[in-house]
Symmetry: C2
């Protein structure tokens, strides 16, 4: 196995980055550090991804603006190949200490003036309750497709909150405003989170640990824990904030519930990925 | 006249601050630079201001959370006295080169988790069309009553945009969602701005001039031009972002239309203020 800075080897992250991930629940890597072509390939594919009338496409409350497109690792061969880039796979395998596959992938757009907020939530509760994934042995990898600034709705984390375990306490009933006629799984993908964390819990954690919004140029890669408490504000700026996101799961942590959610939300073929 | 750093003299701002105000459309002053007791007095008065069932009180879309309370310089003697602090009055007189009075005052709350956004707008168009104020010879003075951070919905400016003149082009009809039964003037005080600036104009100005969100500890004073293009995001953080705002007008620029809007939106007694 060769180890080089261009990221052709499936090597784990440096020990200090691994330690920081486990302490803070996230690490932000500069452009090019995991795979040099992540940004270019994703930007090349983006127009056709957004244009396709795909069942994995979710619109904003306005019924026009694209909010997210799910299942890209299943529908787009170029994106599927990106999920197997050696350095990316090596980093994730190292964090989970196992072989991995992509349980979910998506692009979140946050259009200028229109991209809506994502309320405070943890990701893992959806995979536990929706797909029967027993342990939070998953890793989120978000590739910035635009520069992320304080103005265009960056992800906001409570650092270290992943160590607090499952915080969600409310399972909101019914469908969110504007999505009344949509299938039930849409309730997990809108600005109104299905599982809510009590405000006093968020406040207590934020006062103790602070808040942080990782920012950086397009091509930066944000790796974060499925139990980190996070949100993001609406984008009322004139600048887009698109992100490509891969959710890797340990193959030993396969879903125990299958077939309940669409394939583009829960991959039905959890097979260990090999680097290419 | 004595000049001292405690701000007991009605002196203008330093020439470099005046130049920056005219170039950028705003200046941010550190706590204590205009009047040492602005913050303490305002925080002392805040609980009773928020509790009073006053006609100048505006709620958020949720119908519960206080968004703003208007007319404080008319209803609250302690706040009225603050508007006449010598250094504050001296700074504003210097910027407008005239005697001044308070045309409007308010506190904007931005409650934790609930404070809604303010869309992109310029302030002056409301005073021109609503009150017949012929020239943009007004100055906004915002006193931070909480620390303002990137997380709690800071004001966001396009610096220098005040030099572009009046940008608003759309006069939205009807009442915003959630305020259908309210009096017509409420339409000028909600998250949905009555006068909208075209998105292409905002984008062009932001790409040319950038964006800036002045931040600072409680007690900081943000002085800004009535024609600067600005907005602020919703506050989805657990931390409040309250601001006390005074809109000073030149006495030579008195409204030519009176009696159309409530006293708490347009002061009916434009009399030159004397420092106390």
């Amino acid at each position: 196995m060769t180890h080089d800075t261009a990221g052709t080897a499936a090597a784990p992250l440096a020990p200090e980055l691994v330690a920081r991930y486990h302490r803070d629940g996230y690490v932000l890597l500069p452009p090019g550090s995991l795979a040099g072509d992540l940004l270019d390939v994703a930007l090349d594919e983006l127009p056709s991804i957004l244009a396709a009338d795909d069942p994995g496409r979710v619109l904003e409350r306005d019924g026009r603006t694209v909010r997210s497109v799910y299942g890209l690792h299943r529908t787009n061969p170029a994106i599927a190949a990106l999920t197997r880039r050696p350095a990316l796979l090596g980093a994730v395998r190292g964090l989970l200490d196992d072989d991995v596959y992509v349980h979910q992938s998506k692009v979140n757009i946050k259009a200028p003036f229109a991209g809506d907020q994502w309320e405070w939530h943890q990701d893992y509760v959806y995979w536990l309750t929706g797909d029967g994934i027993r342990r939070p042995d998953l890793v989120n990898v978000a590739v910035f497709l635009d520069e992320v600034t304080e103005f265009n709705g960056p992800l906001t984390f409570v650092p270290g909150s992943h160590t607090a375990g499952l915080l969600a306490s409310t399972d909101a009933d019914g469908m969110p405003l504007g999505y009344e006629d949509a299938p039930a799984w849409v309730a997990t993908l809108t600005a109104d989170e299905k599982f809510r964390v009590r405000h006093c819990v968020i406040e207590e954690l934020a006062r103790a640990n602070g808040l942080v919004s990782p920012k950086g140029p397009a091509g930066s890669v944000l790796v974060f824990h499925p139990n980190i408490l996070h949100c993001s504000a609406a984008n009322i700026s004139p600048l887009r904030r698109a992100m490509l996101m891969f959710v890797y799961n340990s193959v030993a942590n396969r879903p125990e519930v299958t077939g309940l959610r669409p394939d583009f939300l829960a991959d039905p073929e959890p097979v260990a990925l090999q680097p290419i």
